[in-house]
């Protein structure tokens, strides 16, 4: 067996399965988005061209979902990263290593929890009558806050759970990156008596900046997964103020209307969006190396 055949034998089985699993959904999503198939109408399915996309363009609930997703992205990506960096810098070269090992184990726990489980735990804490938040607010005589039912608070309350999971995880990842950078510049600066925050601002952060950039692109893509959290906590409500793309696609494509073609046209847009961001990430990485 020559070298080419050997490589093919190692690569092809997985390659073929992944090809089926990636090409098929893409073709099917495109196909569905060009017809008018509905799960509740057995005789539906005729070719309609780009009608689904034209309809999306003037669909106010779709634009709402885009806007909600955009806010969701901004809040979760920025706060997760900022807190992640701050926590990592707080721990870095500051505490004994046994404590660091213990803390990193503690900090990855929220991230490995099933999102459904995390969502219920927080839903209880957010509860107006039973929740610990309202208990604490009650102690300083602030009257009941409806974290999940208040139009102004709902999205932020759900986002806090995502930030809770991700900032702690990112802090562990960033700490690992920090510990891999060479000691010399930092020690030299410390001998010169530079203050800790100055040291980080001028030396440590610039060194890890490329990693932070790629982590933020990754978090942008990961933040598109909102279904489990939103479904358990608000189901898109109150009204549609927390209805992200995930939820809207599910509602319109399956649960409420069964309009699978219309749902598929949203899928296609999400596919393109993810592909664009992944490509930017890849270009950034290529540029670095």
């Amino acid at each position: 067996m020559n070298k080419k055949q050997t490589i093919a034998a190692f690569v092809l089985p997985a390659f073929i399965i992944l090809l089926i699993l990636s090409i098929y959904p893409l073709i099917e999503v495109i196909h569905l988005s060009l017809i008018d198939r509905s799960l509740v109408k057995p005789d539906s399915g005729k070719f309609v061209g780009l009608a689904n996309f034209v309809k999306l363009f003037s669909d106010r609930r779709f634009w709402n979902a885009l806007r909600v997703t955009f806010f969701w992205e901004v809040i979760t990506v920025s706060f997760s990263l900022i807190f992640g960096i701050l926590i990592a810098l707080l721990i870095y070269r500051n505490i004994p290593s046994w404590l660091k090992g213990f803390l990193t184990l503690l900090f990855i726990m929220p991230a490995v929890l099933p999102r459904v489980a995390a969502a219920y735990s927080w839903r209880f804490m957010y509860s107006p009558l039973l929740g610990v938040f309202n208990y604490l607010l009650g102690l300083i005589s602030i009257k009941q806050v409806e974290f999940l039912a208040d139009r102004r608070l709902a999205l932020a309350s759900v986002a806090l759970i995502d930030i809770w999971q991700w900032s702690l995880l990112l802090s562990v990842i960033i700490l690992g990156v920090l510990e891999a950078i060479p000691e010399e510049p930092i020690e030299a600066a410390q001998i010169d008596g530079v203050k800790r925050w100055q040291l980080h601002w001028h030396i440590t952060l610039p060194i890890i900046a490329p990693t932070l950039v790629s982590l933020s692109f990754l978090k942008i893509i990961e933040s598109f997964r909102t279904f489990d959290l939103i479904y358990v906590l608000t189901k898109g409500g109150p009204g549609i103020v927390t209805e992200t793309i995930d939820l809207y696609a599910y509602n319109v494509g399956l649960a409420l209307e069964g309009n699978i073609s219309y749902g598929a046209s949203i899928s296609f847009i999400m596919f393109l969006l993810t592909l664009v961001i992944a490509n930017i990430l890849w270009m950034v990485l290529k540029h670095e190396s």
Partner: protein
């Protein structure tokens, strides 16, 4: 003396902040754990109760529910199935990326990581349509096959580095002994890479164990544990918090236990290098 006391104050501040963060990290899980052992009267007390008479009634009741029991079994079958297949297909692929040089390598890597990143909403309707048309909706096969889209890329991604770290001399020596590339892979590389590689395998197990969106849309009878727990969110307005807490804990035990084993893989999963 003065410097010393300033140092002290800084330390007190540092450890107070760290303590606060550590408590925030575990409090929601800790509180759910307490609730899972409480009678309803202790759960609904307006003042949070740390001290109460514990009961395992919630767990017993959850395990008596046929839905939950079935879902627990389904979760094990589906997660194990998709991870075993992901391993069989993904690991040789990762070995080829780590050891052989060929033209399409960089593009293949990018493709694999992009597949891993695709949010489920991008493919969910295609899968629904596919399994409906094949009459295979709500089967183990449908969910396991769909989950290969998660396990194969994840296992590939996390196995490349472990294979790269296998000393090349050992493999070269084995090749000189006359072992075929497959024997070298199976008898030398895999056993040596195994201790670090297993972290990625366990991590992929947790990804599918936790998965909700696809399981929720592709199953009803064969629903997995997250879906069964998610169903509590619909039944009426009143949530049976004792039962919910107990089932959340059951759902969370595998990831929390395995976290210690794959914590190293977790970082390499998110640090992407081209």
């Amino acid at each position: 003396m003065k410097a010393n006391s300033r140092f002290r104050i800084k330390d007190i501040f540092l450890y107070t902040v760290i303590l606060f963060i550590a408590i925030s990290a575990v409090f929601p899980i800790f509180w759910t754990l307490l609730n899972s052992f409480k009678f309803m009267k202790d759960i609904i007390s307006p003042v949070p109760r740390f001290i109460f008479t514990p009961t395992i009634e919630n767990y017993l009741r959850v395990l008596r529910l046929s839905d939950l029991k079935g879902a627990l079994l389904n979760s094990f079958i589906v997660s194990t199935g998709s991870v075993v297949l992901g391993f069989v297909f993904g690991v040789p692929f990762a070995y080829a990326i780590a050891r052989f040089t060929f033209r399409a390598k960089e593009n293949l890597k990018f493709w694999v990581i992009t597949l891993r990143m695709m949010p489920p909403v991008a493919s969910v309707f295609a899968f629904i349509y596919l399994w409906l048309n094949l009459g295979m909706m709500d089967t183990y096969f449908a969910l396991i096959f769909s989950y290969l889209l998660i396990t194969i890329p994840t296992i590939i991604w996390l196995s490349i580095e472990p294979f790269r770290n296998v000393p090349i001399e050992i493999e070269e020596a084995a090749t000189l002994e006359g072992l075929s590339p497959f024997r070298v892979f199976l008898q030398c590389a895999l056993p040596i890479a195994w201790p670090t590689l297993i972290g990625g395998v366990l991590f992929s197990f947790i990804l599918v164990w936790n998965e909700f969106f696809l399981a929720f849309t592709l199953t009803s009878e064969r629903m997995t544990l997250p879906v069964a727990v998610g169903a509590y969110a619909v039944v009426g307005m009143q949530i049976a918090w004792g039962e919910v807490s107990a089932s959340i804990i059951m759902l969370s035990i595998p990831p929390l236990i395995l976290a210690g084993f794959f914590r190293k893989s977790l970082s390499s999963y998110f640090i992407i290098r081209s």
